[in-house]
Amino acid sequence: MRVAFLSDIHANFPALIRALDSAKRRGADQVIIAGDLVGGGPHPLEVIRLLRDRGCFAILGNVERKLLERGRDPKVLARMARKKGKANLAWTALQLGAEEWAWLEGLPTQRTMTLADRTVLVVHGSPRADTDYLFPSLTAAALRRWLGDANPDILVCGHSHIPFTRAIDGVRVVNCGSVGRPVDGDPRGSYALVDCESHRAPTARIVRFNYPVAHALADLRARRVPGAVPSEVAAGIKRKGS
């Protein structure tokens, strides 16, 4: 069975379309989203609608969690809209309708599933928190601490926007990178393809795909998305403080 794991779409609709097309072309049987569907990008409404209409399975990322915690109180939103670091979250909240909020509310924070007799744990940051970062330098000891009591064959995560796949202490760790907001200097989007078969060790690979960055940049500017830095999106980087 082949599953495409996508993460950190960050409201980039053209990137999501290309990622789904790419996964379909590569024979993915299922698509699972590991959080941060929105936030930062210009298309929160379009991304949520598309994932919902196509029946994709998703979990919450730290952005969706914050949205659900604070995004529906007009007073809080008004305060957030005035703060530089939070204005984007307020803008994103204002784009969503009742249907989109209801769909977000129904999403879990993580999910454990079985693929061809293998246990797969899908989280956004780490099994402990959606704000933890798992980097390629992850050690076996650190992984055990993150996993705690959990004992999956495959751990799928995102959040750091740095894609990698490593076998550590018998666990296949897969970070999907970012579909809509890469930061590793490569402006192409990334996702992970995981193959699970009954009598073989699971394998995973990172797929990079091109998407029309110009569309995303044009909409960032046209919709005046607060906090967005189009030049960084175009370059696939993130500078400190931006």
């Binding site: 053209p14 803008w91 005046r224």
Partner: protein, 521 residues
Amino acid sequence: MADARASGIPASTSVTLALPPRGSFARVRQHLEASGYSVAGGERQRWDDFYFDSHAGQLTRRGRAVRRREPGACLQLLEGGAVIAEGGEGSGPLAGQLTALDLEGPLLFQLRVRVEETNWLIGRATATAFVASCARWRFRSPRGGREERGPSTLTLRCDAAEPRELAALLTVLRDLGGLVPVDFDPVRSGLDRLALPQPGAPIPPRLRVAPADSVADAVAKILGQQAYKLRANIDGAAANLDPEYVHDMRVATRRARFALRRFAPVLAPEAVAEVRESLATLAAQLGAVRDLDVFLSHLPEALDRIAAPPAFRRWLRRTLRRRRTRSRDDLLATLTPPAFTALVSRLESMPAHAGEALRPAREAAPAQIRRAGKKVLRLADKPPASLTDGELHALRIACKGLRYTCEFFADLYDDDFATRIRALVAVQDCLGAHQDAVIASEALAQLATRLSSRSTWRDTALLAIGALRQLERERARAERDRYADLGARLPGVVRKLRRASPLPDGPPDTVPERATNGPDG
């Protein structure tokens, strides 16, 4: 809910998208339905639009258009693509709006557009629906010819209160269906497809002189502009739609001849000689028709002023019209496709010499403007009252030379330069009106000599011609008086034009002196 303006989402109520080449709405519909949209309807309709504008394209320049829609024979005035008035020609709101536009000349048929439209309703379960009109456009020239297929477009119309929904739909259509918003105008698109000029024949950007152009590039563009104007007006002149078509051709011919003289040192001499000869013939024929057009346009008022007898009126009108028909027949013989097309093509592909031709136009332009200005100042350096008719005409030609030189390079300078040119044009117009009166007076004198001595009403006619000549002399005197005032300002105008086109730093100007201002055609 997000405020449309604050979110930057377009709040327009109508957006037109281009369907991809060979694309159909069926494919777009699949994408929409796979993205949670419902698509219903499919009502088809077909109609023809006949677009009109004045010769100078006054409606287009103001973002307006007049069209007649068939079936229904409904006349409509549009602004920015939206109908702002409709009705009959003679009265009602449309007639009022057209009168207010103060159009110069009649509205001429520009383009026929056939539209086949299918209307759909696109919506989501909980959101506002959009009316989507999928249109196929076909264009036909007013003078027949084959029909050209235009683009296929999808126009979305919605309630402006739901801009967020419109933006979401546009994103889906762009990223899933490959449909992008376009600034579609059926008249502009149709005329482009048919390779016909836009109303008023504005110079296209590719023919505008750019700061990086060499002299050779600039000269090619300047000659190309005149060729473009000749092509743009040939149909109207041949079909006798409006006297302004002949006038514009005459102006383009004059400018082309002037440019060939002015820039002769950078052009191949044998090619110049051949084209100049053909242009001289064309200029003479256009001039003959145009002079009579001007004379005929002033005639009714002049005849009223002298209370001319009806028999004389009829005779004079008939005589002048017969002459115009003869002149026009001569002109039409020159405008026949193979010869005329070859002339225009030669004008467009005039070979340039190396050397001076490679110099940047921006460096060469100031010297050209100064040389033309110097000639104006020399001829104007006399008290206006002491100038003879011939001297005023020579000054007019010199002013025209300066004006053309400035206009050739106007794209290299700022708006201030254009303002200065307008001041020069005012002087030139005054001198032109004076010359028209002189020519009309001479034409009347010739007419008197051809009157048959056996004519029973010869004396009456001679008296009337004498009175008309007197009117023309008065007109010439009035223009001469006006020039006394304008001429005093002429040196200032020339100085300001020089100042607005400063000489570049570096080596002294070395533009060859071979070109001279001769008499204008």
